[in-house]
Point group: C3
Chain length 156, copies 3
Amino acid sequence: MLDLTELVDVEVTLAYIKYAIFVIVKMMLMSPMTAFFRMKKKAFANPEDAASFGKDEAVKKYLRTDPDVERVRRIHLNDLENIIPFLFIGFFYSFTGVDLSTALLHYRIFLGSRIFHTIAYLVPLPQPCRGLAWGAGYLVTFSMVYRLVMVGLSLS
Amino acid sequence: MLDLTELVDVEVTLAYIKYAIFVIVKMMLMSPMTAFFRMKKKAFANPEDAASFGKDEAVKKYLRTDPDVERVRRIHLNDLENIIPFLFIGFFYSFTGVDLSTALLHYRIFLGSRIFHTIAYLVPLPQPCRGLAWGAGYLVTFSMVYRLVMVGLSLS
Amino acid sequence: MLDLTELVDVEVTLAYIKYAIFVIVKMMLMSPMTAFFRMKKKAFANPEDAASFGKDEAVKKYLRTDPDVERVRRIHLNDLENIIPFLFIGFFYSFTGVDLSTALLHYRIFLGSRIFHTIAYLVPLPQPCRGLAWGAGYLVTFSMVYRLVMVGLSLS
């Protein structure tokens, strides 16, 4: 087994992995949350799901969209749209020779912004709370892109 | 070119890449399947698509949602929500010094769970078939997260 | 810090990172574009968003779906469905000992296909413009899968 610590200063990449796991777990928790709201509000997308909660007439009645369910689904989609770019960019960024403290600052703000985004979306808090939370994570990702571009330019 | 085999026991990472390719190809096949159902059911989201299958009145008629098309789209979205976390977590997991056989068990159960999930969603099989298929893949991913956390704690 | 250039021919992986950043940034730009169309068309998904643009009756009126907004959202979802597989497959592919020029050809066609796909979707151009753009990117990804399979078979 390779002892990576002998070869590279892997602290930043290990920090990346740690925060990547946090945001992935946060994103994955949206699945059971969607299921919970579908059951609580009796609002299903598939007849075979509604059939678990009633027969015939009930199945038809439960085959519907519900604002709260759609809200949770939008959080999940927004997570996919924002967290996945972060996961790739943050990985590349961890190899740019950045200081551990600077990298941690980026990773922590991103994690915080996505947690606050979910809270602001769920409550819901009045705008611009959710917008600012989204914007903070978006800017963190672009800040890492900026460093990648600068490092790339210095190589060529 | 680096001969990685001299440096690391790459068997697990190579196994990861193999199964990652399988699940990515499985996920990518949902795109032509959606197109197939849209054409078969004449249910399009864009006027320019419907226009390939008729004129004026037909375009309006074909601009509609269809339960079967929406079902395939939900499979694709569910794949994105579950397979992408697996791809990241499974990659990190392959560097935790795990036994090849244990890793293969995780990767194979995940692949099987996603294939069975798609079948259960498409047929559709009565619940809880699809729910169990989804849950198996979800638990596999969290089992890998668990190992990552344990290894991380032993490092610090 | 590891000087990777001493260990591996990293040119292809660096090229991958460069094009990965391009397509990720392209994908991320769909978020502000969705927000722009939502504001321009006054079509919001959340009451708290609509409330920024009016009161009571206006909030109800602005809580609606709009064909242009949905169009941009479909571009974003299509990006997720196609760009994320590319990001993983392209990463694995960069380690197959492929020529830099061949790899660049793949990465550049993919980037071009996704930019043209977005233009064809936004204008919208008549079909099969968008279909061909999508197909070009899809084939590039499968061409890389093909090489990965061939290299994998030669290893075993």
